[in-house]
Each structure stands twice: as C-alpha cells, then as structure tokens.
Symmetry: C2
C-alpha cells in the first residue's frame, strides 16, 4: 500500500535527494546543480515556481512528481509534469500511475486541459505506461534549450 | 525598423488573430479553440498564466512571443517560450531574433537560467536560426501530451 501527499518544506532534502537519483538514472547527474535553498525558495516561498507530490510506501519515501502551470495558445491552461520518479525498490506497484493520476485530478480540478511532459526515447517502461494511458507522442516537435553563454549573447543583441 | 513591447489587454484580439495564423502555419488550426475571453483572463487577469510581447513594424503588428515561467529540477527557474511568430510579410528583417532577444533579456533579469521551447522538425528556417544562436536540440526527449477522455480516465484511477 502507498499514499500520495503534497510535498512540504520539510521534504526539501528528500526531494533534492530523489531529484538527483532521477538525474543519475537519466545519465545527467553532472547537470543537476540545484540546491536545497533553491527548492525551498522556489517551491515553498512567496513566489511559487513549482508544486510537488511525494509517494510513501510502508512509511518510506518511494517517489515524487514535480509539476508547474503551463499554457497552450490552442486550448489554454495546462500542467507541465517536469519530473515523475519512483525509486527502483518500489517499482511495479502502481506508484507511478498513482502519482500521475493525482496530477490528473489536480489538472481537472483547476480546469486545466492537458498534462504535458517529456520522456527519454530509451525509457521503454515509461513509454509503455504512457501509451497504455492514451497519451499522444508529439514526435514532430523537437525540444530546444538555450542557456549559458549563448543565452547571454542573445540578450545582448539589439534591434 | 521595428519595436517590441509588452502585450496589453487591448492586444487580445490581435494576439488571438496571430495565434490562429501560427496554428494554421503549423497545420493545426482545428486544434486552436482558444477564445479572446480565455486570453483576457489568463494573460491580463488576476491569476496570470502567461506573458506576451508584440512586435510592430511601420506601426503595423508584425509578430508576437508568448511565454510563461517554467522550472528545471536541474538548474531552477527558466522561461518556456510557447509561441514565436512573425507574419509572412515581415519576415527576414530580424523581428524573430528581436523577440527572442527580448525574452532572453527578461530571463536574465529574473535570474532564469534557460529558455525552453519546441520547434517543428520541418521548420528549417526556424531550426537554422536556433542553431546559429547556439541552442541545444534535446532529441532524446519525446514530448508527450495527455488530454480529453484519457485524462479524465486517468483522474478516475484510485490507489
């Protein structure tokens, strides 16, 4: 049995720990530089940048979902699911599905039209779960990221 | 010459018009069901879901950028650029670059670490521009969307 609850500020060390476990699973641990102070300020301060849920199994932390509000100019308000993670020893018990379902309930309660997220193309287990749910894979769309020196250079361009 | 300014509530009819032009360019006009009332409430009401910039060229509306705050659990606060559009008759004058540069300046001013967006894989002109800027194409990541009946069914799943 497991339960799912909103994360609180006391969960910040746990959240950062699981965020780093997920980054390691994705092979990108060196890209993960977030600190507890960032999560505390951005998730539980005055200017909220995200919300999170924690899953517990036998009173042990088993996984999390982290999401924020996003917006489609076709349909309006949506939710972007940034992270969905279940610790290896707690997998295959429906915890990932439970976290997703809770995010779906929050979306509908807030009149948000869709959940958006991204999945790594080699994560077969996750892809199978999302396919079974009836999710749409938007493979015509390529995710793009601009950061660091190229972002600073772009900001310096004048009209 | 052109100028770029924040969108105001008086721009809502123009924004919806250009949003629909972009949806048509993307071959998805039938998916675009947003109404002016939605944009007015979500972009200029009490619970802001997005921000937008308008480009003007010779005092005519030439394009727009629409974006919202997003969050990376690796680096913290970022900006998600939902739409970037320049009307056909105003292209090749640097207006798209001007809109992007203004969003980049806003990101840096707010200590946001990156711009995120998505590009259609057949939009060669856009892809060339983004490559020239030093953007990173995250092609291992597949965008996923869940909406409509599958979203409602997911929300009904219990633990």
């Amino acid at each position: 049995m497991f339960l799912i609850r909103p994360a609180t500020i006391d969960d910040v060390p746990l959240l950062r720990c699981m965020i780093r476990e997920l980054a390691e699973f994705e092979g990108e641990l060196e890209s993960c530089v977030i600190e507890e102070a960032d999560l505390r300020r951005d998730g539980f301060g005055e200017n909220l940048q995200f919300r999170a849920l924690v899953a517990e199994c036998d009173q042990q932390p088993a996984g999390y979902a982290l999401y924020f509000d996003c917006y489609s100019t076709w349909v309006g308000a949506e939710i972007f699911l940034e992270d969905l993670y279940v610790r290896p020893q707690f997998r295959s018990r429906g915890i990932g599905m439970g976290l997703l379902a809770e995010v779906a309930r929050i979306a509908l309660r807030e009149n948000r039209r869709a959940l958006r997220w991204e999945v790594l193309d080699w994560n077969k287990n996750a892809i199978e779960l999302y396919e079974a749910l009836g999710a749409v894979f938007c493979d015509q769309w390529r995710p793009v990221l601009l950061y660091g020196e190229p972002l600073r250079q772009l900001a310096q361009k004048t009209l």
